[in-house]
């Protein structure tokens, strides 16, 4: 049996909020920084989504179907493609038509709902599932939660929603002596297969590729394929943000040439083959259950939830947001549901993170706010207006 290589890319763009002062509360209910969202999306489309999609399409043809990949595209990102760069959706559709690409299901708004409310989590999942069916004409079978957040209980809920495979992080503190390079299953539901990210090999591409201080720089496709072959186990899961290609790692550092060479080498190789997550789950046998009592994620050194819910500001904003859920079901207003979804995006909570207050270099790159305080204040002002609208909508309905 050939060793499997599973490539999966995450595509997401947040709905960045505009500068929303308390004077605006009750007066202006447009929350988004359309200019920033459009500019950033267009830039990333030009630098990453369009060229990388084209590259993958070419490679799928060139490798005669041996190249297989998986994407998860958040609903928030799909909406932005529609609004600002419909050609991106079109190019993903072309990839879908090759039949070699699996589209995964996640929460529609890249939300943290799995940690807040079973009901809202289900809403988000079903909404995303419908979106994938609508855009790409296929029903997703595999689930990946926001930021690869996973626990035994979340896994169980995902299984109950009809998924057979789920992705998460091969976090060191849960793996112990075990290797991520095998298939596992959920602690409670043996029917849910778990694929674990090989963070070391994934980060070689996603984080270290262009780092000239890295002892392995420059990374060639030959060297990297050698590492894949040399790794233990049956299956290597390479999961990363799609923005790695052309955005985090810029084109001039050679990332596109690397991916071209790498995909061809693996396709030709006698010992390796590309698989999609669903295929990996069918091909391999589970070596046992993996126990994750507390939620894990793929973020930061801690691989926990602290980037989103680590401080009191984040927790307060999070609880205040999900406390509105019941009222929302009474209001039954489409515009309110849409905003409620966007306000759930995990990014808003990430901006309030104080973990890296002093050396916020990595975080600040993705952060429109100068300080976590500003992020919190802005978000709470928006939420203040949202609650007023919610109350008004309920009042109108009961009249």
């Amino acid at each position: 049996m050939k060793k499997s290589v599973c490539l999966y890319f995450q595509v997401h763009q947040p709905s960045r909020l505009r500068l929303y002062r308390f004077f605006d509360i009750g007066k202006d209910s447009h929350y988004y920084d359309d200019f920033a969202n459009r500019t950033i999306l267009k830039r990333i489309a030009q630098k990453c989504y369009l060229p990388m999609n084209e590259l993958l399409l070419e490679q799928i043809k060139k490798c005669k179907g041996k190249l297989k990949i998986a994407f998860s595209i958040s609903g928030s990102a799909l909406e932005q493609f529609d609004r600002y760069a419909p050609e991106v959706t079109e190019s993903f559709r072309k990839l879908a038509e090759t039949g070699k690409v699996e589209f995964l299901c996640e929460t529609y708004n890249h939300s943290l709902s799995s940690l807040a409310s079973k009901q809202e989590f289900e809403n988000q999942v079903l909404r995303h599932k419908a979106a994938i069916e609508h855009y790409f004409g296929m029903t997703p079978k595999t689930f990946r939660n926001t930021e690869l957040i996973y626990s035994d209980n979340i896994g169980k809920e995902v299984y109950d929603l009809g998924f057979k495979t789920m992705l998460t992080e091969g976090a060191r503190h849960i793996m112990g002596w075990m290797s991520p390079n095998y298939l596992y299953n959920n602690e409670f539901k043996s029917g849910l297969k778990i694929l674990l990210r090989n963070y070391s090999l994934s980060d070689d591409i996603a984080f270290r590729f262009s780092n000239k201080a890295w002892s392995e720089w420059p990374l060639t496709a030959e060297k990297y394929v050698g590492w894949l072959k040399g790794s233990d186990g049956e299956l290597v899961n390479l999961f990363m943000d799609y923005e790695t290609f052309g955005e985090h790692q810029s084109a001039d550092c050679g990332i596109f040439d690397f991916m071209r060479a790498f995909t061809e080498l693996v396709a030709k190789d006698d010992e390796l083959e590309f698989v999609t997550p669903s295929r990996a789950a069918a091909k391999h046998r589970s070596v046992g259950e993996i126990s994750v009592p507390e939620p894990i994620s793929w973020a930061d050194e801690e691989r926990d939830l602290s980037a989103w819910l680590g401080n009191e500001l984040q927790q307060d904003a999070f609880h205040k947001l999900y406390a509105l859920e019941e009222k929302l079901s009474l209001a039954d207003d489409e515009a309110l549901w849409a905003d409620y979804g966007h306000l759930q995006e995990s990014d808003h909570f990430y901006y309030m993170c104080t973990k890296f207050f002093s050396d916020g270099e990595v975080h600040s790159r993705f952060n429109p706010y100068a300080t976590p305080y500003e992020a919190f204040i802005n978000y709470m002002n928006v939420l203040g207006d949202f609650s007023i609208r919610l109350d008004n909508a309920i009042a109108e309905k009961t009249v």
Binding site: F22, D316, T354, A370, Y373, F376, I377, M380, N381
Partner: protein
Amino acid sequence: MFGWEFPPHIAGGLGTACEGIVKGLAHNGVGVLFVMPSASGDEDQSCAKIINASDVAVRNVSETVEEFINKVKFINVDSSLVPYVEPSEYFSAIEKMKKENVRETSVGFGQKFKFSGKYGANLLEEVSRYAQVGGTIAMQYNDEFDLIHAHDWMTYPAGIAAKELTGKPLVVHVHATSFDRGSDDMVDSRVYAIEKHGMEAADRVVTVSDLTRNIVINKYGIDPRKVVTVHNAVDFSGRDDIHVERGVRDKVVTFLGRITFQKGPEYFIEAAAKVLKRTKNVRFVMAGSGDMMDRAIRQVARLGISDRFHFTGFLRGKEVQKMFALSDVYIMPSVSEPFGISPLEAMRSNVPAIISHQSGAAEVLKYALKVDFWDVDAMADDIYALLQYPALARFATKQGYDEVNELKWNGATAKLKKVYESVVKQ
């Protein structure tokens, strides 16, 4: 070390900072001879020997008299130049001088000067006399020190004189510049000249923030390589927490400081008016006095918020702490603040602080909320947020308290010691 004041008798923050520095240096194994114009004898001498310049006779060191006069000539400022006084005072000062026929050069050696150690009308005169006495003291204690350290412009001439006479390295410490005292077009050129001369003569210039460092480099033209920032710290030891019964149930937002152009009082008033348009259960307090107080009161009346905006006048000692204990938000909207110690005191009193980016304290306080002084919308938004979102107030309070407790003089003076070593070795 040449200072101008030392606790317990202080008029501003300089004396408090000097005490912190002296104690911190002692902790780091550096002994200090502290020279001040007018010591009262009740200063805490456990960490430094305090020399009262008023007790020192200017010695007639015959072989160096010519040299002394030549070298310290530049500090002989005509004593009729009096900064910061009303015209009437100015004339009476001149009249008085004419009567007494005092001239700088007529001051003989072997005479003791009585310094006031205040910031009065004859400040420049005192500064120049202090320089002469400073030189003498430096000669007397020549064997006891390795380096001269002078705090703010009043002591620079003394520092220069001491350097000229002993050849020992000079460090001048910039706690404030002329640009922080007046607006750009109101800078006192005589003070500026003394400051510039002191910085040029110094082997190292220590600034209390990067903000001040930039002023020293850009507005005084000092070589960046010799300007080092050592951020201020604060000593909270021996301070009790005060609990005060509140008279009003409303939230209280406090401005505490001199009501002068530099402190940005009008921006606070504008922000207050904006917040009051939105929410009513809040009161604003402007504690302090200053030359813009009348204007501030008129502004409050014009905006129609005087029922919610209160002036306390100048507060001292325990009253300051009491004011903090009554506050829910502290705000320092300074236009130009070399450092600004009061937000640290607020945070230590469990009051979350909003400070302007134009303050040195903003460089060290991670857990204060920061705005540009002119951005009254942002200021209003931050005030509102601290009042309306308890999680934010709790977080900023708790983290801020822990943060300011970590800002110790021992750390700051360890850095200062390194500055010393860099010039003493040369």
